[in-house]
């Protein structure tokens, strides 16, 4: 009956974002009640915790085999349902290694690299954003120009040149992913500081003579935290995907250690007679990234990051 109908969407702009409750307790309570209503949030949390758990305790699970144990007679055994047996539920690779065991083993690198990169980028980026927003002036200009240049010089290109110069390593991949996402945090941190800077309570504490660093930590940071957590989750999805791409290109972990991206690289020559290697490794990446994305969808609907979108849209290109 109505032509302009219904605000809330399944996606990003759910309605309950208007008021920001002041107390931390209320936020948590709201978050919990909001979660109960959100299928995306629940499935996201479920997937993420499941994969985190597997990455931590997986290798000690009784039914998980030795991921490095080769058995050439068993090579390229198909998974259950395609002629395989429960000995190797997801089949084996070209060297007869158990795919499931290798997936569990690879989870660690795949998830840790992404996580580490995002943490580094968040800390570094936010610090720069806070400084830029709070100090202003030339330092602000410098930091924001650096962020602009970084936008125009995406991480993969930096990755290519750094790998060419220093050779592949996991640490390099972490650095490269961090480099490609710090400026997102900087821009959001800065714009939030600029907004908050003018708000009354900061003015009040400055009037009362509190030193500026204390003002920054006591008042600004807590306000940033909720937006930044949301952003971290969003960037984590991108970081895990980047890690898989770098591993696939052979820039990251080197054999005999493994990650999902590397499994795809090693399995790609067998897509005709061993499609399951590539398929399951990619499925693992996709599901975990989907979990993170669902989590981020839910957080975004709770904690409006329209501001970030705005920043992306207004991004001065280069």
């Amino acid at each position: 009956m109505t032509a302009v109908d219904d605000t809330t969407t399944p996606g990003a702009d759910t309605g309950a974002v208007d008021a920001v409750p002041p107390e931390g307790v209320t936020v948590l309570a709201d978050l919990r009640s909001h979660l109960r209503k959100s299928k995306a949030g629940i499935s996201g949390i479920f997937i993420c915790s499941l994969f985190a758990l597997v990455a931590i305790v997986g290798p000690w699970l009784p039914f998980i085999k030795d991921p490095a144990k080769q058995s050439l007679p068993d090579k390229l055994t198909p998974p259950v349902g395609w002629g395989g047996t429960w000995t190797h539920p997801l089949g084996t690779d070209q060297l007869g290694r158990d795919i499931l065991a290798r997936l569990v083993d690879g989870a660690r690198i795949s998830l840790l690299v992404g996580l580490a990169a995002v943490v580094i980028a968040a800390i570094l980026g936010t610090a720069l954003g806070l400084i830029a927003g709070y100090v202003g002036g030339r330092i602000d200009t410098l930091i924001i120009s650096a962020a602009d240049v970084q936008m125009a010089f995406p991480g993969v290109l930096a990755g290519l040149i750094l790998v060419a110069a220093f050779g592949p390593s996991v640490w390099l991949v972490i650095v490269v992913i961090a480099i490609s996402s710090w400026m997102v945090f900087t821009r959001v941190g800065r714009s939030l500081v600029l907004t908050l800077k003018t708000s009354l309570f900061v003015e009040a504490s400055e009037l009362s003579g509190a030193p500026s660093t204390r003002v920054m930590w006591r008042h600004l940071l807590p306000n940033l935290v909720s937006s930044l957590i949301t952003l971290c989750v969003l960037e984590l999805a991108a970081a895990i995907l980047s890690e898989s791409a770098f591993a696939f290109l052979g820039f990251g972990v080197q054999p005999p250690r493994s990650s999902w991206g590397l499994m795809i690289q090693q399995g790609r020559n067998y897509i005709t007679d061993g499609w399951w290697i590539v398929t399951f490794a990619g499925l693992a990446i996709s599901i975990v990234v989907l979990g993170v994305n669902l989590l981020s969808l839910w957080l975004q609907s709770f904690n409006d990051v329209a501001e970030r979108e705005q920043i992306i849209l207004e991004r001065p290109g280069g």
Binding site: M1, T2, D5, D6, T7, T8
Partner: protein
Amino acid sequence: MSTTNGNGRQERLLEVKDLTVGFPTRDGTVLGVDHLTLNVGSHERLGVVGESGSGKSVMGLAILGMVLPPGRIMGGSVRWRGEDVLDPGVANRVRGREIAMIFQDPMVSLNPLKTVGSQLRELLQRRVGLKGSAIRQRSLELLDMVGIANAGERLRAYAYELSGGMRQRVMIATALACEPTLVIADEPTTGLDVTIQDQILTLLHDLSTELGMSVLMITHDLGVVAQFCDRVQVMYAGRIVERAPINEMFADPQHPYSLGLLHSVPRADRDDGELTGIPGEPLDRAQFPPGCAFEPRCDEARDGCRDTPPPLLKIAERRWVACYNRPGEGSA
């Protein structure tokens, strides 16, 4: 001022009965429009007056079966010449063609990326069915009708290139494009200079007489009502609290809120010189008392006002009031 048609009786065009629009909030549903009842006859200029947040604008859209999200129509009926406007098929026919709306703030209510000409063209093409050169001719005629000089040139202009008064004239032209029988004007003069306000009101008044249109004027400004309308309804918190012909409303307001409204407006024709506001603040819509919504601000309030909202009762010929202190005909 009210004109009557040949039968000597006004034909009823719009009949709104018990229309209720709710907005879900964290603290439950707030009623933007609460059991609204309203009739507009042919050749009539009806005013709906109330302060901001009284649900006037929600009402305007709801009459067309439209509600801005997250609100929704929860009950009641809207009939246009007997047909149910809340039925999508009927709404599609009635909107724009029979009932056209004029919005406040034409800066944002006109499409910023379309020229005046293309906005008129799409209406004339798709809603009226004109073709070819007739479109341009009619566009020029419409702009001429609303008093825009240089019409040919203005067709190529974007809304942001026009002055405020000019934009509102364009808005009126788009409303007139389909020759509607009723125009709902939602604060059409708010935000304009006083002299321009007057021009726009005069224009609307003249057009309604010339074209025989009825107008539903939604405003917070009693001055606009006094200048423009035949009849007025006072709205408070989504409900109609008083309904009266214009002269009687100004001569003898009955509801305490109407009384307060009139006393807060400076008037040239009276020189008692005393301006009084309405005590208290406009309420947060989420915290309305279960009884009469005006009770917390009313100096005539008594215990009985707090339990259920007073019904709108007839107290004299063409006069209705919703107040326990003004018992109507037939009630005790």
